[in-house]
Amino acid sequence: MKDFLKVAIFSLLTIGAFTAYSNFGIPQIVPAPPPVEEVLDLEAMTMDQFIALGDRLYRGKGTCTLCHNELLRAPLLDDSVAMALKHMSDPNYKGEATNVEEYLHESFVNPSAYVMAGFGKAGSNDTESPMPDVSAGGIGLSEAEITAIIAYLQDSSGNEVTVSIPTDVPEETGDEESEGGGGRAPFDSAEAIIAEFTCGACHKIAGEEGEMGPDLTQVGALRDKDHLRRSMLDPNAEITDGFMEGMMPAYGDQLNANELEMLVDYMAGLK
């Protein structure tokens, strides 16, 4: 019995050590929740908003930055227009695009039409791209969303945006989550907005202890409403000392006017 107890305690201590290490020894990253589709009101959208949508999709649902980043798992797309022109004239190009817009679209749905040297699937001798068709499968971008990303890529590379906002696409991106839903319901409280956009991941706010951004527990005593509003619409306009530029996304496209004001009022009340 004594041996049994010793062994049991030893085993429990070992399991306890692994559990403690996993809980306290490494950073606790909370995985992003499953993506929820939104219904796009394309008719009411300006080109700037459409480009901003493309930016969001590029970094979010499209998962483009997973590979197209400085680690060079895939080519950087900071000058995608010049790249498109160059590739279309390459003898290895197997696609059918006749202009930049078509080429970019083709590269989304048929990435193997042209594979840059060194970026092909292992063993394919750069004839096959490891990139999936982004209009299908897990990414499942709609035509309008692909067009928005093309607009963003053209704009971010300093070129003229040649695409137009689609108007003949009914209920874009409406898959099973959004069918008949008419978009997300408006937020009814500032707390709900803070929870949804996980502000606490970077800021100290609403009981959360984020450290990447400024402490907002008493922000109302330090900033007026105009400043607070601006910091949400254009976060890089003014950076608090000790924090880095470019860390916070702009929320102007993700909140309606009422919601923005509700959040501003809430924060102004944090004193």
Binding site: I15, F18, I29, P31, C67, E176, E211
Partner: protein, 609 residues
Amino acid sequence: MQKRNSRIIMGALFTAVFALFLLPSIVPGLDASLAFADETTVNLDVDAVTYDPAPKLTEADYPKISGVNSRVVVWIVAQLHLWFGAFVLAVPIFVFIIEAIGMSTRDQRYDNMAYEFIKISITAFSLTAILGGLLVFCLVLFYPDLFNYLATIFKESMFAYALLFFVESAVLYVYYYGWHWLQGGFKKWVHLTLGLLLNASGALLMFLANAWTTFMMSPAGVDAAGVFSGDTWAAIHNFLWNPINIHRMIANVAYGGSIVGAYAAFKFLSARNKEQRAHYDWMGYNANFIAIAALLPLPFAGYYLTAEMYVYSQQMGITLMGGVFAWIFIIQAVLIGALFLSANYYLWCGMGRSEGAHRYNPYMKYIAVVLVVSFLVWFTPHTLVLTNAELKSLGGPYHAILGPLGIMPAKNTAVNLLILFTFLSFMFYRRANKIATVPWVAKGNAVQVALFTAGIINIFILGTYYGYYTNTVYKIAASIPQVLTTLVIIAISVAIDAFMYKGSKEVAPLRWGRVPPRSQYALFLLAVSFTWLMGLMGYVRSGIRQHWHVTNIFRDNSPDAYTPGLGYAANVISIATIIFMAMVIFVFWLSTVSSQKSQATGYWKEQGT
């Protein structure tokens, strides 16, 4: 002796081939799909079955039981089933090998040990079946649409699985209960063949179950909407099927060895006399040997599986290694480090069994240093999650020195050294009580030293030059020659030692049982770490599907569709491990009481003569 060994191997091969030929007739779907049916015939088949696309579920489609978290229940039951399944599949593999060694050497100790191993697995076999049934029950109860979808595609293989389970059970019972009956001459051959049949049916069972799991990760035989083409073989032979088969087969053997090692350690600690201690010490040593022999190639099998995941879907690979799961591999490094360190520690303690080992003691501290340094490199994270202030003071997310050690070339180098030096520990242990008598001892040792030196230099060059000074393609590719270098060193060293120590002189006997009790705790550490590690890897294998039941085809819309965080997962794994360990102790206890007899004097009525 040579002739007898050849006969054993030939018999084993014959049965294996026979079992493989049976496969298509057992799995009805395979028969049709393996045939080279031409497309025209298929198109003209007016009776062809049409299949529905993968269902699009809402939260309401998932049955709920108040106060029960369906995902956690399925998670724990599936994990318990997998642990027991791994154990009962592994034990017959090495029981078969040990029995064959016993037949070859005519040393009955091996036969007795093999019997004791299989005795332990008998109760575990029942528990595996019960947990398998419970898992199906839970899936039907909590995820009926998913189960229905999978059953539509895999109905033939599921039916074959059930039949095969009967075959395996029947063979196991004859194998176990007929152990003492089928002894000597031809009967022993029949018994060994039964062992092979048991392994063949067990392996087939695992391969079939693996097909269902890997289909969920890398679906095949279905279109983008999840409509099944009717080709069962395509669905079974999906992209990740074989990588998982290989990885699980090797891991099962290592795992089975570690659990049996824990059993031997438990019996050693509770032994009441020298004979028992000697027996269970010997048993523990053999179990540890099995675990380590399978553990050495395991990182390579894992690496192959991961590489195949990248080939299948770069997104899946990046989610695994660069996304939220990246930190899993730091925990994994700690666990594998624990496995290697405990295995080495056990070997070093075991060197106390013979006075002849003293001459190797001075080297152990150097081996320990290499193991610890390699472990620390493997354990070094690449991307650090930092606060703003830390980011600023570091000048970026990568530390100047630790950053380069966090990437795969450094880790590959470290793991190859970890394996090589564990092998070196083992070589010293094997030589402990012997002195080679062949005239070319000095030359043989010199060749081995040169081999190790050249190999380690090669591993370093491949890891540093190709890892840091060339592009990504070479970084990944360099791992293969690194692995080959390690394997070549091990293979040639084993061959040289086998010839060099043939007819060697015993310098001091190995005194089984003469090990400190603390060495047995290394065996427990091995078993517990292995169990926990398998749980962790099960979480990540399943988790990389993210919010999909079947990757990119069948979305998970249950309330638990989110990926749980590491801490939460660790807690679930720990609870499951404790349940598993309690059940394993129950199995051990049963095997102990089954051999005990109580004299109930005066209880039974005297029978008149």
